[in-house]
């Protein structure tokens, strides 16, 4: 048997129509796709500039309510900006920040998890103690902190969220690597003279990537909610950018007089996106990775 050919290679399963699988979360996926499309084409779809309003038209209710008009389908906010347009551009902010942060956290956490699990010894000790320390701080507190240090901007938020949430990947991936490295194909690769870097890169990584993807889907919801919370507290995406969390913070200005659309609508958007991501993640977890069912 030639051990230098990829011992990890598993015969590729015949391509199957994903959406025909049992329990495929069709509606959540369609919702996510819709949000993604709105985010991409916000420039074309949005009827108004999301950052410029007119004080003459402030606090207009949605079209179906008394005093509303078709000019502003979902009403206007405290400085007269069109809520629908802001929601559409907000989808873009949430999508970009959410995906980028999850990717950043995933790459960092997976890398550290593999290195920690495979190399063991003091490297493992250092990374795991760091993980413990990170986990002793609630994610949101930690994020508020980092935001206070680096100042609010969309790019910073991505790094902050990634810097906070990599630990979850590191933990899970490390424990998988611990059992993987005892497996035959790794031993064979060592015998064949592969370097440690090659083993981690070519033999371990392909075997943990599934878990990383599942975790990423599950993390997406958490990251989006945290971003919204940070923006809500005023340490996230800076105004006047159209972010859903920021809209909720602005919505407080009309809350006590009953301007419900400024509070309810952005929250519904967050909920739809997070719920869809969670449903998809839940399904992926069961389908792709039985080991993660315990999570």
């Amino acid at each position: 048997m030639s051990v230098t050919t990829h011992p990890t290679a598993v015969p590729a399963p015949a391509p199957i129509a994903f959406w025909r699988l049992k329990g495929f979360p069709l509606i959540p996926v369609l919702i996510l796709l819709l949000i993604a499309l709105v985010a991409i084409f916000a420039d074309v779809l949005a009827p108004y500039d999301p950052e410029i309003g007119s004080l003459a038209r402030r606090f207009r209710p949605p079209a179906w309510q008394e005093g509303g008009s078709m000019a502003h389908l979902l009403g206007t906010d405290h400085v007269g900006r069109d809520v629908l347009s802001r929601l559409m551009y907000g989808a873009r902010v949430s999508m970009i920040v959410g995906l980028a942060a999850v990717l950043f956290a995933g790459v960092l956490g997976t890398f550290l998890g593999i290195v920690s699990g495979y190399l063991g010894g003091w490297v493992d000790q250092v990374i795991m103690r760091l993980t413990d320390t990170w986990l002793a701080l609630p994610g949101l507190t930690f994020a508020i902190f980092l935001a206070a240090i680096v100042g609010p901007s969309e790019l910073n938020i991505i790094f902050i969220l990634g810097g906070v949430y990599w630990t979850r990947y590191a933990r899970v991936i490390r424990s998988e690597v611990l059992s993987l490295k005892e497996r035959e194909f790794v031993n064979l690769a060592i015998v064949a003279g592969c370097s440690r870097r090659a083993i981690m890169w070519h033999h371990i990584l392909p075997n943990v990537i599934n878990s990383a993807v599942v975790l990423a889907t599950l993390m997406l919801g958490i990251v989006i909610v945290t971003e919204a919370a940070l923006s809500f507290l005023g340490v996230g995406v800076p105004p006047p950018r159209p972010a859903w969390g920021l809209m909720l913070a602005d919505g407080k200005k009309g809350l006590m007089v009953g301007y419900w659309w400024l509070t309810v609508l952005p929250g519904l958007c967050i909920m739809l996106m997070v719920l869809s991501a969670n449903l998809l993640g839940d399904w992926l977890r069961v389908k792709l990775d039985p080991q993660l069912r315990q999570l």
Partner: protein
Amino acid sequence: MKHYIARRVGYSLLSLLLLSLTIFLFVRVTGDPASLLVEPGASPQDIENVHRQLGLDQPLWVQYWQFIASLAQGDLGQSFYYRTPVLDLYFQRLPNSLLLAAVAMAFSLLIGIPSGIIAAVRVGRMWDSAGKIFALLGLSLPSFWVGLVLILVFTVWLGWLPSSGSGTALHVLMPAFALGWYFAAAHMRLTRSSMLEVLGSEYVKLARLKGLPEALVIGKHAFKNALIPVITLAGINLVVMINVAVVVEMVFAWPGIGRLLYEGISFRDFPVVQGVVVIGGAMIILVNLAIDIVYALIDPRIRLAG
């Protein structure tokens, strides 16, 4: 076993030390507190004086050493802003946080346990699916948004509850519900899976064979045993709740630990931030340590795997 516990305790202390160092360095990167304490346009001499007063003119390692040395004696230093000991501030706010967490916990268990049981008893049927959706909703709704919607409904539209502040029993209801909602979902999930496990066990089968009425089997035999992991999680979550309530506290202007921390960060009140974070971190590290040790006592395999 002794080895295992000693190592765990050692790791915990190390984590705590790392946490204190991390937080010590992080607060100092947020900026100069003196610039917020003096009048705008103060002379460099004044700022220098403030630095000396606060002990910020010392080298970093001296400051850290003083922080750790007094921490070891249970002293968290003086707040820059309030000029009172941090521990006093902490204990002023702690009752509020505990009250909020306790009521939130009550909500989450009152919702989570019954719905978890129903979902387990009717597994795979309508109630189970409804429970699943409820659980996912709980995990998907940002708690601060739940809070805002509660204010909209119960304060603005119905006029039943006060929107913010503290003092009466009515004040705690909405923040506690907003905070407890997320945890209700977690408790429901665990109750369900724990109930399912117990319902499949031999002694439940025996109880059924004896011809006991189903209500008694579920209510007495199954429920009691299924409750153990749920109570464990609830205990851990109580600690977590005290430390994650910051956004809910901000929405309802609830004077808890979370707001103390948030104010501390905004005012660059280093001792307050360090104190709150270290106490919160210590709580979480302690709980994790306790779990590790209890599990190791129960399950020898964990001890050996280390």
